[in-house]
Structure formats: C-alpha cells, structure tokens
C-alpha cells in the first residue's frame, strides 16, 4: 500500500507548511492577556480610508448570494483611470500573494528557476519550491538587494527575478538609477517582477516610477496590494500591472472569480480621494519610527529600517523566545529567523498607544528598567 505521503511529489513532501497565527481571542486566552497588539503583519493601524469604509457599510448583505465580477471589472477600470493605463494591463487577485503564484505558473516550467534575495518576503521562494521550481537566492549586501549578484544569477533557465521594492523586512529599495541600470544590463533575458507592496509609504522623487518604466521595458511587471496602505488586508485584494501581453499570459494561469465582491468595491472606493488617508498614515508611520528608534537607541539595540511601515531590531535573546515573552505582555511581533535574520524581530509601525505598549513590553521582556 502506497502511503498518502508517498503519493505527493518529492518537492511537496519536503516543503514545510506555513502555520498562521491563531485568532486573537485564542491567543489572548493562551497567553492570559486581556488585550493584544498585533504588530506582526504590517497592517495599517488607521484602517481603510473613509470612502472604502462607506463602500463596505453600504454593501447590501443580499449581494453575498451573487458571484462577483469574475475579473474585477470595475476595480480594473478604477486602476486604469488612476494610472492612465488600459484595464487590460491589470489583473486583480485574492491578495497579491495569489498573483505571485499565477506569475510563476505562467512563466516557469519544469527545470526553470526564479531569482530572488535570501532575506526577503518568503512567498516567492515558497511558491517556487512547492511548485517544483528552483528558487535561486542571492545574498543581500549591506542589508539591501544586490543588483550585480542578482544579474549574475540570471542564467538561461532563470525565468523571473523577484525584487521586493522596498524590501520586506529591511526597508531598503532600489532607486530609479539602480532599477534602470539593472533592466538595461538584464536586456530582457528574464521577467522582472517588482513587489511594491509598501510603495505607497514612500514619498521620494528617487523612487522608481514603475508604472512609467514598464512602458519602456515590457519585461517589467509590478504588483501592489490593498492590504498595507489601504488597510484592506482582511478583504484580500492585490493586483498586477504590466504590458497587455504579459498580463494576458498571467491571466491564463489565474483562477477567475478569486476576488470577492466586497473586496472589489472596497478596493475601488479606496482609490478615491485617498490623499488625506495616505498623508495621515505616513505621518503615523514616521512618528512611530522616530519613537521606536529612540527606544532602541536608549536600550543600545541595533535597528534596521527604511521605507515601509515596519522596523527591525536585533535582540539580545533568541527572537523566538522574545516573541513568547512579548506575547505574555500582550504584544505580537514577527520573529525574523524565518527571514534568515536570527535574533531579530520586525515590528509594524502603528499608533502611539501600541508603540508605547510594545516599548514597555520589550523593556520588561529584556529586563531593562
């Protein structure tokens, strides 16, 4: 009798499943706390922008019985209007993570590889591995993605380069010049996928305008998400933008109807008059960053941050132990061992109350008065 385990392909058997954290009430019960500050997922503490809130409130429950638009028609119109592109250049997914999967399915076959960094968002590597595609991991240099080494890793069977820009968890980013040089030297040998999940947190003229650059480089694909700046993580909406030809390819390997109706209307609404929301979020993130850097400096802890609503700090004890100690004080941070940064944690930059709770929990957990 063949065991069930042996029926799965080798690369699936070797893959370690991701275990998400338990729901808050369960965690609070386990750790014996009456409040939990979730600072592990880089969510927006301000929530969705007002227009999205209204759209959610106006969503008639009866609509839940109907299938949504199978290809997020209205949302793509809204994105096209926003970025001055054709709706055919957009593909919406159930979170941008779903789109990562579709891109790899579309462009990689047996024997192919993707190139990405060793210390970056894990999903590119995971999807490649559990699909039987080689994930070629290029070490960071000075805590940033190294364009030269990534170029060198693009051999014939490397079909996609994933560049997390800005990079989660280091906050480092390639500027206009770095990206342009990379694209020119790559010369279309592979697709370049920019993950701009944290793009909206940046207001720097040197940050590449990928929506423009893709007009000159049709091997450039960009994805963004409504989970971070737009505060809609719970509704799971992300999108891909690229040349019509590239997006058409990805659409073939993407399951239609994967974005729910409420998510579609909330995301489209979130784009309306979003300037105030973005400004308020950036201000919150900046204040929180300043506050935490002060806390870490005072404790003599090395920290690392840049763009994005998160900061990393190096811990004098194992990050997985510190995680448990912080949980006992009602604060949830992200351990960084899984990002190949052992003894670092990453903390989302949020409202003052949460930041103070974290600072006090950290001092308590490390026995600092």
């Amino acid at each position: 009798m063949i065991r069930l385990f042996d029926r799965a392909p080798d690369y699936v058997r070797r893959f370690e499943r991701y275990v998400p954290s338990r729901p808050d009430p369960e965690l609070m019960r386990q750790y014996g706390v009456s409040h939990l500050y979730r600072l592990n997922n880089n969510e927006n503490a301000l929530g969705p922008p007002p227009a999205a809130r209204e759209a959610i409130a106006a969503f008639a429950p009866g609509r839940a019985a109907l299938y949504p638009s199978g290809d997020a028609y209205d949302l793509r119109q809204a994105l096209a209007a926003r970025f001055g592109k054709s709706p055919e250049q957009f593909l919406a997914g159930n979170g941008s993570c779903e789109v990562i999967s579709a891109i790899i399915r579309a462009f990689c076959g047996p024997g192919d590889a993707i190139v990405t960094a060793d210390k970056t968002f894990a999903v590119y590597e995971w999807v490649a591995k559990f699909s039987g595609i080689e994930a070629r991991l290029v070490p960071l240099v000075r805590q940033a993605l190294d364009p030269d080494a990534m170029l060198a890793a693009v051999t014939e069977n490397a079909k996609i380069v994933f560049v997390c820009n800005p990079n989660n968890p280091t906050g480092s980013w390639w500027d206009k010049a770095a990206l342009e040089r990379f694209l020119v030297r790559l010369g279309g040998r592979a697709l370049v996928v920019l993950d701009e999940a944290y793009r909206e947190f940046l207001d720097d003229p040197d940050f590449p305008d990928s929506m423009k650059i893709m007009e000159r480089h049709d091997n450039l694909l960009v994805f963004r998400t409504f989970s971070k700046m737009y505060g809609l993580a719970g509704l799971r909406v992300g999108y891909l933008c690229g040349s019509e030809e590239a997006v058409d390819m990805v659409r073939r390997t993407h399951i239609a109807y994967s974005v729910n109706a409420l998510g579609q209307v909330a995301a489209a609404a979130a784009l309306e008059n979003d300037a105030d929301h973005i400004a308020a979020t950036r201000a919150m993130v900046e204040d929180a960053g300043r506050f935490l850097r002060g806390v870490f400096d005072a404790m003599g802890l090395e920290h690392l941050g840049g763009a994005g609503n998160f900061i990393m700090v190096r811990t004098p004890v194992s990050d997985t132990l510190l995680y448990r100690r912080l949980m006992m004080k009602g604060v949830m941070a992200r351990t960084m061992t899984g990002f190949r940064y052992p003894n670092w944690i990453r903390v989302s930059l949020a409202r003052e109350e949460a930041m103070e709770a974290f600072a006090s929990a950290l001092r308590g957990a490390l026995d600092v008065p």
């Binding site: 070797r14 893959f15 370690e16 275990v19 954290s21 338990r22 965690l27 386990q30 750790y31 014996g32 060793d118 894990a122 590597e125 811990t315 004098p316 004890v317 194992s318 997985t320 132990l321 995680y323 448990r324 100690r325 949980m327 006992m328 992200r334 351990t335 061992t337 899984g338 990002f339 190949r340 940064y341 052992p342 003894n343």
Partner: protein, 437 residues
C-alpha cells in the same frame, strides 16, 4: 567506490531462508567495499534477526528485508507484522540478556543480533506493523596528525559545501581542540565525516579566514521530524576573533535551516563557544564515565513562533512541567491524566535504540501494559550489562497514555530532567535513569 547499493527481499516464514539472506548480506557488504570483519558482523546481524523475527511473525505472513550498503555503513531494515500476543518476544530479547539458561532461542537471536550491530532501533509503525533497523559501521583509518592553522586573519566568511579534504581537516582540528564528547562520533575518523556530509546525512557551515584557512565549523543533522541536532561551534581562532567566527557560524547555521521543515534545533554537546542569547537552556543531563559524573547542559532554540498547544500531564510531574514551561515562557494547556488504573494489555512494549559509540540508550514506549515498571527495570538492567551508562526515556505529551506512565518511570528509577518543546509529536519530557557510581 559504487554509490549506494540496495537489495530488497520478501522472505516467507521459513527459517531455511535465513542463510541465503545472510549470503546476500555478505555480497552486498563486499560490493560496498567493506572489509571481512564488518562483512561478517553484518551477515550475522541479518541471519540472527531473520531467525528471531520468523518466530514472531504470524503464519502466512512474510518479512520484508531491505539491505543497504552506503559508504559509511551497512544497514538492514526488517519490516514485519506481529499480532499483539507475540510482541513480548521482541522485548524479552532485551530482557533476557540477564537470563542465564533456558531462554527461547528467538530471544537469544535478537540479543546476538543486537550485539553484532553497532546500533539498532525498533519502531512501532502503527497497528501491528513494526520495523527494526540495525547498522554496522565501516571502520575508518586513524586520522593523520593535523596542525592548527596559524595567524588566522579577518575578514572571515562561511561556506556551506566545503570539499572533502576541508571537511576532514576541520573535523580533525575539532577533535584536537575540544573534549571528545562535544564532537559527533564521526569526527574521530574524519574521513567518515566527509562521507556523511557527502551522503547528505550531516550538514555543516565552515568558516574560512582571509587566506582561506579553516577557522571554524558547526555541524547538524536531523534527530526527528521536527528537530535538528547540532554540534559546535568549533573554533580554531584565538583572541577576540573567536566571537566573530562563532557569530558567523551560528547565523549561517540558523539561516540555513530557517526555512526548512524542522521546528527546533537542540544540542547536548554544544561547546563553551556558543554565544549567549542564541539558545535557551533547557536543563542538564548527567553523563558518567568511570567514576566521574558531570552535568551536561541541554540547549534549544525554537525556529518558529510558538503556537501553543495542549500537553497531557500526570499529577506526579505537574509541578515539574509547570516550572519548565514557565521558565520557557511557553503557554500550554495542561490536561490531567490519571495513573493507569489497570492497563488493558498485559504486556507493554518499549522501543529501544542502543548506540555504543555515544554510550547512549534511548527508550520510547510503544504500547502501555500492566508490566511497564517491570519491563523498564529489565531494560535498564540489560542495557547496563552491555556497559551503556546513559539511559534516556522519552515521553511524548501528545499521548495521554504515554503521559500517564510517570509513576512507572519514577518507580523504575527514572527522573524527569527537562522538557524538550516539539521534541516528539508535541513536547517531550526527557527522563534519565539515575545513575550512582
């Protein structure tokens, strides 16, 4: 030298097949490049196990034997089904060591087999299915002397897949610089270490200095589905560079295993060069050699965010468990189990792994039974007779009947030493048989 060689045999319940099967074992050993002595031990192991197991399996059933020749060892795996009633025969093989005359031959057979192999392991695969694995190690030549590298200079860097010559040299350096118990057994014959690394059975990170001299080493290998066991860090630098090299090795190790399937890493032989803050102390195990006993620290590190879980617990060790979990800052729902009032089965079954090299016997319960305390005592006696000092018992807290055996363990002279989170299916209590010298 050929790669791995393997032979699969389905043997009927008929003792006449033991001898030809042993001949196959001999041929495999020869073809795998083993010398006469190892070949003979392997042959004996296979023949004796088959004779013994044929007495245990049911009428009409067969025995599946897989013989494997690797560079560093010969392995015989026996898979079979045994109805509950005949299981006693397996255990008594160990139990009967101390018996003098009149024991049934099949028990003696298993005993002999255990004596010819370097280690063996009995696994319960569920229901009435079992597997025994016995291994005979290759004899490697004594290592030639090595000289410690001089004037190591920064910058240091690490490599993940050094070549065999480098591995051999690093292992020899480690043996020279550290007490023997801190090294994996294979370091004593460094060529074996290189073979194991080549076969993927042991992984490492190695540090080089600016001039490509060997500056440090750290090794690891899986010890369960969830756990990796590491050795080191071994440092060959002096002065202030030591911490830098240690940090490179530790970070390199953890980065290498961070996205792999294992949940924890642990060691009972970490060197004093382990940097503070990387690992959590779990407690101590006692190790005795001759008349001297020492307490060896056990260190552990979770690779993931702890999700919490339930742990079954006997009132006999509840205080110990609660104290251990509090020290670890781990939340567990402690679920009480009662002492087994009267186990349904008469005969208990223990799995045993004996490793002469490491002076270690490890016991795991497969089936509960009324005779558990007596069975434990018999095992301890038999193991001690074999000259093995360290006897550990692993209790998996995911199984209520297993957790309920605390009383039997205490009665048989074991004490709970530490809780190893994710050491088994869930957390594991490591018990040690108390030894007085």
């Amino acid at each position: 030298m050929p790669g791995e060689l393997s032979v699969l045999m389905e043997i009927p319940k008929d003792a006449a097949f033991a001898c030809p099967a042993a001949n196959v074992a001999q041929t495999l050993a020869e073809r795998s490049g083993f010398d006469r002595r190892e070949s003979y031990r392997f042959q004996l192991t296979v023949e004796e196990f088959i004779l013994c197991l044929i007495g245990v399996i049911q009428e009409g059933d067969g025995l599946r034997v897989i013989l494997t020749g690797k560079r560093h060892l010969l392995r015989a795996a026996f898979a079979f089904r045994a109805a509950e009633l005949s299981l006693g025969g397996l255990n008594s093989a160990v139990r009967d060591v101390v018996r003098s005359a009149g024991e049934p031959p099949r028990d003696l057979g298993l005993l002999l087999a255990a004596a010819s192999a370097d280690r063996y392991n009995l696994e319960h695969q569920g229901g009435d299915r079992f597997r025994i694995v016995a291994e005979v190690d290759r004899r490697y030549p004594e290592p030639p002397p090595v000289h410690a590298p001089q004037n190591l200079q920064p910058p240091y860097r690490i490599v993940r897949h050094p070549d065999a010559a480098r591995l051999t040299q690093a292992a020899a350096l480690a043996v020279n610089a550290y007490p023997a118990w801190q090294s994996p057994g294979c370091f004593q014959t460094p060529e074996k270490f290189a073979d194991l690394a080549d076969a993927g059975e042991i992984a490492c990170v190695l540090a080089l200095d600016a001039a490509e001299q060997t500056a440090g080493l750290l090794t690891w290998s899986p010890c369960s589905d969830q756990a990796l066991y590491f050795s080191g860090p071994f440092l060959f630098t002096s002065g202030t560079d030591r911490d830098d090299v240690a940090r490179l090795l530790l970070d390199g190790f953890l980065e290498a295993v961070a996205r792999e399937p294992h949940a924890i890493v642990l060691s009972v032989r970490a060197t004093a060069d382990l940097l503070p803050g990387y690992f959590e102390p779990l407690g101590f195990l006692q190790s005795c050699a001759g008349t001297v006993c020492e307490q060896r620290p056990v260190v552990f590190r979770h690779l993931r965010e702890d999700a919490g879980m339930a742990a079954w617990c006997s009132p006999r060790i509840e205080d110990f468990l609660r104290r251990s979990y509090a020290g670890l800052a781990m939340t567990r729902d402690i679920l009480p189990v009662e002492e087994p009032g009267g186990a349904a089965r008469r005969e208990s079954l223990l799995g045993a792994t004996l490793d002469r090299w490491r002076d270690l016997a490890e016991l795991r319960p497969f089936l509960d039974g009324q005779d558990m305390a007596a069975n434990l005592t018999a095992h301890v006696k038999a193991i001690r007779e074999k000259g093995i000092n360290t006897i550990l018992y692993y209790m998996d807290l995911s199984r209520p009947w297993d957790a309920a055996l605390a009383g039997d363990l205490i009665r048989s002279g074991f004490s709970p030493k530490l809780v190893l989170p994710y050491g088994g299916q869930s957390d594991m209590v490591v018990w040690q048989h108390d030894q007085t010298v």
